[in-house]
C-alpha cells in the first residue's frame, strides 16, 4: 500500500446463495481523493458499501482501512475508526429531531458511563454540553440550523438527504461513503448538492467515495471512477477515459440513466 493509501479492497467476493453480487473486486482509495462508483442497477454498488462498513462479511477477499483489516469487525466499530456512510434509501431516525439525529452520531467519540448518566455527574453535563455545541455547529455549517428542532420525517426530501450527510459527518470520519445522494433530486437541487460535497470535502478534509447514477454529476466532480457491472469491475480511470471506454458505453447502452 502506498504512503497515502486509506482504503484498500482486495479482490473481494460476496455471494448470496448462488448469486455473486460482488465478485473479485479490488478498489484502492488514497487520502483526499474523490472517487466515483458507477454501474447499472443491481451491479453491486450498495453491496460493496455494505462490505466496507461491516454490514456483510466478504465471502472471499479482504478490506482494509487506514492500515487495519476490517474483516469480521462490526459496523459500529468500523464507523468509530473513521468511515461513515449515508444510505441509498434514507434511514434517518424519523421520530427524532434533526438535532437529535446528529447528536446520536456525535456520541461516538464522547461516551459516558451509565453511572454518569443516572447521577448526572459533572462529567456527563460537560459531555452533554459539548455534544450539543458540536451538533448545533455542524447543523449550522450545513445550513440546517433553522430546522434543528424539526422531526426528521417532517423535513422536505432534499433536507433529509442533507441531514443524512450531516449525521455521517458527526462521527468525524476520514472517509465518507455517499450512496446515491442525488437520487430523486431535480437538476437545481443536484447542482446545490455538488457544491455541498465540494465544500464539506474542503472544510473537513475528507476522502469521499460516491455512488451516483447521474453521469453528469459524477463526471463533473470525481477525480477517478470505478465501473461495476454484474458484480464485476469492468473499468477504472479518469472521467474522460471512462467516458470513452467501449465496455462502459456498452454497459450503459439502452440503460436509462436516471
Amino acid at each position: 500500500m502506498s504512503q497515502t493509501g486509506l482504503l484498500s479492497i482486495d479482490s473481494v467476493t460476496m455471494r448470496f446463495g448462488g448469486l455473486a453480487a460482488v465478485s473479485e473486486v479490488s478498489v484502492h482509495v488514497d487520502k483526499g481523493e474523490l472517487i466515483g462508483l458507477i454501474g447499472p442497477n443491481g451491479a453491486g454498488k450498495t453491496t460493496l458499501f455494505n462490505l466496507m462498513t461491516g454490514v456483510y462479511t466478504p465471502s472471499e477477499g479482504f478490506v482494509s482501512f487506514d492500515g487495519n483489516s476490517l474483516n469480521g469487525r462490526k459496523p459500529f466499530e468500523i464507523v468509530g475508526s473513521g468511515m461513515a456512510r449515508t444510505f441509498q434509501n434514507i434511514r434517518l431516525f424519523k421520530a427524532l429531531t434533526a438535532l437529535e439525529n446528529v447528536k446520536i452520531a456525535a456520541n461516538i467519540h464522547r461516551q459516558a458511563s451509565l453511572f454518569d448518566v443516572v447521577l448526572r455527574t459533572p462529567r456527563l453535563l460537560k459531555l452533554d454540553a459539548e455534544i450539543d455545541a458540536f451538533s448545533r455547529d455542524l447543523l449550522a455549517q450545513l445550513d440546517l440550523a433553522d430546522v434543528a428542532d424539526v422531526r426528521a420525517s417532517d423535513l422536505p426530501y432534499g433536507l433529509q438527504r442533507r441531514l443524512e450527510i450531516a449525521r455521517a459527518l458527526a462521527t468525524e470520519p476520514q472517509l465518507l461513503l455517499l450512496d446515491e445522494p442525488a437520487a430523486g433530486m431535480n437538476p437545481q437541487e443536484k447542482a446545490q448538492l455538488m457544491g455541498l460535497i465540494r465544500q464539506i470535502r474542503e472544510r473537513f478534509s475528507l476522502t469521499i467515495l460516491l455512488i451516483e447514477h447521474d453521469m453528469k454529476l459524477v463526471m463533473g466532480i470525481c477525480e477517478r471512477i470505478y465501473v461495476l457491472e454484474y458484480g464485476k469491475l469492468i473499468a477504472e480511470g479518469k472521467p474522460e477515459e471512462i467516458q470513452k471506454n467501449p465496455k462502459v458505453i456498452a454497459a450503459y447502452l439502452g440503460e436509462e440513466t436516471e
Binding site: T53, K94, A106, L119, I131
Partner: protein, 341 residues
C-alpha cells in the same frame, strides 16, 4: 463535589417526603385503599420498567412477570429461609424493630434485584441478538418456564405458595415507603436517561437499528442494558410485592400479569415515561375501585382486546412518544380562552 452534595440533598428530601406522606396515608386512609395504593405503586413501577425495554429501546418483551417472580421468590427466600440462619450471628437482622425491618427489606431488595437482573442477562444476551419477534416468543416462554420451575420447587412451597414475612405485612408502613421510593427511582432513572444525549442511543435503536449501528451505536449492548435494567427493576418490585402480601403463589406471576403490564405500556404510549406511569396507576386502580363485577370478571378480555386494538390502530399508544408536561397543558388551556389573532 458540590454536585454530590446536591444529589444527596435530593435523595434526603425525597426520603423525608415519602416518610411524611406514608405517615399521613397510614393514619388517614382505610386499609383497603392502602392496599390499592400498594398495587398502583407496584404496577406503575412494572410499567415504567417495561417501558425502558419496549417503549424506549423498541424491543417487544411480553414476559415481564417472570422477572417480577424471580424478585419475589428470591426476596422471600432471603427473609424466610436464609435470614433465620444468619440472624443468630447478626442480631440486628431481627425483625420487629424499625431498623431490623428496613435493613432486612433492603437486603432482600438487593438480592432480588441482582438475581432478576442476572436472569435478564441470561435471557436477553442470546435472544436480543436476533431481530424482530424472537424476543417476544423467548420472553413469553421464559415467563412460563419460571412459573413452572417455581411450581415444582418444594422449598418455596410449590403450588401451595410461599409465606413471606408477616411482621412486615402487619406493619404496612414499611413496604409502602419502599414501594414509592422504588417508583421514584425508576422514574428518575428513565428521565435522566432520556434527558442526556447519551440516552438518545436507546431511541436510535428503536427508530432504526441498522442506521444506529452505522452511526456507531453498539446496538446489542444498548438492548441488553435496557433489558437487564428493566428486568432488575421488575425484580425489585417483586421483592416488595412479596413483603406486603400474606403469601405469594406462582399464579400471581402468570401470563395474564405479563399481558396486563404490556397493555399498560402500550396504552400509556411506547416511550412515554409519564404515560406508562399514569396507565400503570389507572389500569390498576380503576378495576379495583369500580368494584364492578362485569369488569372484574372480564378484566383480562378487556385488557387483551384493548392491547390488540391499540397494536393495530395506534401502536404508539395514547400519548405516543411524548411526555405529559403540565406547563404545556396549562399553556394550551390558557390559549383556548384567548381570541384567535
Amino acid at each position: 463535589m458540590r454536585w454530590l452534595l446536591g444529589r444527596i440533598g435530593v435523595v434526603v428530601l425525597t426520603c423525608a417526603i415519602l416518610l411524611v406522606a406514608n405517615r399521613l396515608i397510614i393514619d388517614n386512609i382505610k386499609e383497603y385503599y392502602v392496599s390499592v395504593l400498594v398495587l398502583c405503586g407496584l404496577y406503575a413501577t412494572l410499567a415504567v420498567s417495561l417501558n425502558l425495554i419496549n417503549g424506549i429501546t423498541g424491543q417487544f418483551s411480553i414476559g415481564h412477570a417472570g422477572f417480577y417472580a424471580v424478585g419475589a421468590y428470591v426476596g422471600g427466600a432471603w427473609t424466610m429461609l436464609i435470614r433465620p440462619l444468619v440472624v443468630k450471628s447478626l442480631p440486628i437482622l431481627q425483625t420487629g424493630t424499625q431498623i431490623g425491618d428496613h435493613l432486612n427489606l433492603f437486603i432482600a431488595l438487593v438480592l432480588g434485584t441482582v438475581c432478576a437482573g442476572l436472569t435478564g442477562l441470561l435471557v436477553g444476551l442470546p435472544s436480543l441478538r436476533l431481530r424482530g419477534d424472537y424476543l417476544a416468543i423467548v420472553t413469553l416462554g421464559f415467563g412460563e418456564v419460571i412459573r413452572i420451575v417455581i411450581l415444582n420447587m418444594d422449598v418455596v412451597g410449590g403450588p401451595r405458595g410461599f409465606t413471606p414475612i408477616t411482621e412486615l405485612v402487619n406493619n404496612h408502613g414499611i413496604p409502602l415507603v419502599w414501594i414509592f421510593g422504588l417508583l421514584v427511582v425508576v422514574v428518575a432513572f428513565s428521565r435522566n436517561l432520556l434527558k442526556s444525549a447519551q440516552g438518545l442511543k436507546f431511541l436510535a435503536v428503536r427508530e432504526d437499528e441498522i442506521a444506529a449501528d452505522a452511526m456507531g451505536v453498539n446496538t446489542t449492548r444498548v438492548k441488553v442494558t435496557a433489558f437487564v435494567i428493566g428486568s432488575a427493576f421488575a425484580g425489585a418490585a417483586g421483592v416488595l410485592y412479596a413483603h406486603c402480601q400474606t403469601g405469594i403463589t406462582p399464579d400471581s406471576f402468570d401470563m395474564n400479569t405479563s399481558i396486563i403490564i404490556t397493555t399498560m405500556v402500550v396504552l400509556g404510549g411506547t416511550g412515554s415515561i409519564s404515560g406508562s406511569l399514569l396507565a400503570g396507576i389507572a389500569l390498576t386502580a380503576l378495576p379495583e375501585l369500580l368494584r364492578n363485577d362485569f369488569i372484574k370478571e372480564y378484566r383480562m378480555v378487556i385488557f387483551s382486546t384493548l392491547l390488540v386494538v391499540f397494536m393495530l390502530t395506534r401502536p404508539q399508544g395514547i400519548f405516543g412518544h411524548r411526555e405529559i408536561a403540565l406547563p404545556r397543558f396549562l399553556r394550551r388551556l390558557g390559549r383556548k380562552g384567548e381570541p384567535n389573532p
